[in-house]
């Protein structure tokens, strides 16, 4: 227990009080990531996959921002671009007021120690040639936090206890663990430097359902005790609802809606969000919720639809949708939505559609 409280104490950084928390921890402005596509041998025209297209958001300290969207919508690319694991094509990333995009060398390394990532696949994210102790100690060794091995080991031991791995497995190799335990090891690795921000890239989607809630609760407990902010990427709306403070809905590299969790789940404004919500299975056996079934497939991210990117599959699409691109507008209480009709639509309509 003393070890856990030690991490807790360390987690409280000086200067992290209520007045500070009004400044965003992370501010992302107009982030873009384009991947060039190989075109034909003779064609000169350069094409790009617009994986992340003009994404802006702010993240407060200790806040959890959920990011949802179907596969291929650029959630993971966005998460990795924020950490510059994938170099963004354009945009501005301000971390604690510093320009992360321009950081390099020692400064970049220093900033990286404060921003961590938890990966989706617990089998691929641990080096098979390292023991658990080494995996967890790696960030400490890279950052040269301690000069002595004893201090490093003590810190690793502490982290192992906090995430719930028995210290007697210190010298085991990752392949000797189950998926849930591996994910705990991955979490231990990401919290060992006491970061202020962790990007969780679908941390539970590869796990057994019974383990998912354990890991989610662990993440939430850690957030409470260590005061980190999460960018939580998932395609599972129930998971997002469980853990997020705010939710961002992405479609084809764009943010279509962003709002507080309760607000979004109670009153989704964008037709795409509504369609997603209607797909959440209800526990009742004969529930009669009308489902909004989207027609067609996700359009190619190389040739994006004109106007509103969602108009090809939208059940409310009008002429204007294919001509004009809707801006992300604040519909009150910080509920942002990018749809021509989200202001004109009565709240009841969405509700009716959902409850049918």
């Amino acid at each position: 227990m003393s070890a856990a409280s030690n991490i807790r104490r360390n987690g409280r950084r000086p200067g992290m009080n209520d007045t500070m928390s009004k400044d965003p921890l992370l501010e992302v402005n107009h982030l873009k990531k384009l991947f060039p596509v190989k075109s034909g041998l003779l064609s000169r025209e350069k094409k790009f996959i617009r994986a992340v297209d003009d994404v802006s958001f702010k993240l407060m300290p200790k806040e959890t921002l959920g990011v949802v969207g179907e596969s291929g919508c650029g959630k993971s690319t966005m998460g990795r671009s924020v950490l510059r694991l994938i170099q963004p094509t354009e945009g501005e990333i301000l971390y604690k007021g510093k320009d992360f995009m321009k950081a390099s060398g020692a400064e970049l390394r220093k900033m990286r120690s404060d921003m961590q990532i938890i990966f989706q696949d617990p089998y691929a994210s641990l080096n098979p040639r390292m023991t658990v102790g080494e995996v967890i100690a790696e960030p400490l060794n890279i950052q040269k936090t301690y000069s002595s091995k004893e201090e490093t080991r003590e810190h690793v031991l502490e982290a192992m206890k906090v995430v719930g791995i028995n210290p007697k497995y210190y010298n085991r190799y990752p392949h000797e663990f189950s998926g849930g335990q591996r994910q705990r090891i991955g979490i231990a690795r990401s919290i060992v430097l006491h970061p202020s921000l962790i990007v969780c890239d679908e941390p539970v989607s590869a796990l057994d359902v019974s383990i998912q809630s354990q890991v989610l609760n662990l993440l939430r407990d850690l957030q409470e005790s260590m005061g980190m902010a999460y960018i939580f990427i998932s395609h599972n709306l129930s998971v997002i609802r469980h853990i997020s403070d705010r939710v961002m809905v992405m479609y084809l590299g764009h943010v279509v809606e962003m709002a507080d969790k309760d607000e979004l789940f109670k009153d989704p404004l964008h037709p795409y969000t509504q369609a997603l919500m209607s797909a959440i299975p209800l526990p009742e056996r004969h529930s009669k919720r009308k489902k909004i079934i989207l027609q067609g497939d996700l359009p190619s991210p190389v040739n994006q639809p004109s106007g509103c990117i969602f108009h090809t599959r939208c059940f409310m699409a009008q002429d204007i949708c294919s001509k004009e691109k809707p801006e992300l507008r604040d519909m009150g209480n910080g509920h942002m939505c990018a749809c021509h009709f989200c202001g004109k639509m009565e709240k009841g309509i969405c509700g009716e559609k959902l409850q049918g």
Partner: protein, 305 residues
């Protein structure tokens, strides 16, 4: 009952003490691999055998009963006996002494050619795989040029171009084998660098040096080991083939290859003359292969039994 509970806590305390004191006796990846290797008796036996063969090569002048080039015309093609355990060849030279001296050529060719090929191959392959793009294209094209020629003809061409000699044989065999190493390493590095654990290191601010030494090399090492242990016997064989064709090691310097080549005329009359160098090659090759297998297994923690 309560005693049991305390025992559990004491046990946990012990683990923790142990970790803090010496990391539970963990001696790093290489130390741990060596521990696993030591448990593999067959591999250790072959390692001993290889050390023995190398010692024989080093101390050949002490061990060999005769000068390998001394021609005793009173005992041409003598049958095995107390004076000459394996008999003598067509010039009356002692076969045992020639095999002992021949180990110098064969072992050094095997090891030097392979070490050179591995250094060049691993470096170029890793650079091509890690940086990709234009660097990769250039290195790949060079490799393709080398691969376009049939192995033996390529080696023969180099040997005739540069002249016969041990050093030139090293170069020819090195040039012959580095491409295979480079290709394999390029492939594994390309695959490994996309792994999420490498990305995790980068997210922690790891330098390229850290990623290569902690992430890529330990994970590539088994591939390298396999290539080297297959390559050493291969080089010994190539030396034998080239000597057999008459462009390898030139007489009177003995090598296992040119001994077999010379012995073919007398194979029915003095079978031991050709069999004994063959046995020497066989033992060396098998020892390298088994030791290499053991080393590869030891380097992979997943195969820990």
């Amino acid at each position: 009952m309560s005693k049991n509970i305390f025992r559990f806590f004491n046990k946990q305390k012990e683990f923790e003490q142990d970790i803090l004191k010496n990391g539970m006796g963990y001696s790093g990846f290489y130390g741990d691999s060596f521990k696993r290797l030591k448990k593999n008796r067959m591999a250790m036996f072959c390692a001993m055998l290889l050390i023995l063969i190398i010692l024989v090569a080093v101390f050949a002048p002490v061990l060999a009963p005769y000068d390998p080039t001394y021609q005793d015309y009173s005992a041409v093609l003598a049958s095995p006996g107390p004076a000459h355990p394996f008999g003598t060849d067509e010039y009356g030279r002692d076969i045992l002494s020639r095999i002992i001296y021949g180990s110098r050529v064969s072992i050094s060719i095997g090891i030097v050619a392979q070490v050179v090929a591995s250094l060049v191959g691993v470096t170029l392959g890793a650079v091509a795989g890690y940086y990709g793009g234009k660097t990769d294209s250039i290195i790949s094209r060079i490799m393709e040029i080398f691969q376009a020629f049939p192995d033996l003809i390529f080696a023969m061409a180099i040997m005739t171009f540069m002249g016969k000699g041990v050093l030139n044989l090293f170069i020819a065999l090195g040039l012959l084998t580095w491409v295979r190493t480079a290709r394999m390493i390029r492939g594994s590095v390309m695959q490994l660098k996309e792994k999420e654990y490498i990305e995790a290191s980068r997210a922690n601010g790891a330098t390229t040096f850290w990623i290569i030494t902690k992430g890529l090399i330990p994970n590539c090492l088994s591939t390298i080991i396999v290539l080297v242990t297959l390559g050493i016997p291969n080089a010994i064989m190539y030396e034998a083939s080239l000597s057999f064709l008459g462009i390898g090691i030139q007489p009177p310097t003995p090598s296992w290859g040119n001994m077999i080549s010379a012995a073919q005329t007398f194979i029915s009359y003095r079978p031991l003359y050709s069999i004994m160098p063959g046995v020497a090659i066989m033992i060396t090759v098998i020892a390298f292969n088994i030791f290499g297998d053991g080393l590869r297994d030891a380097l992979d923690p997943k195969l820990k039994s």
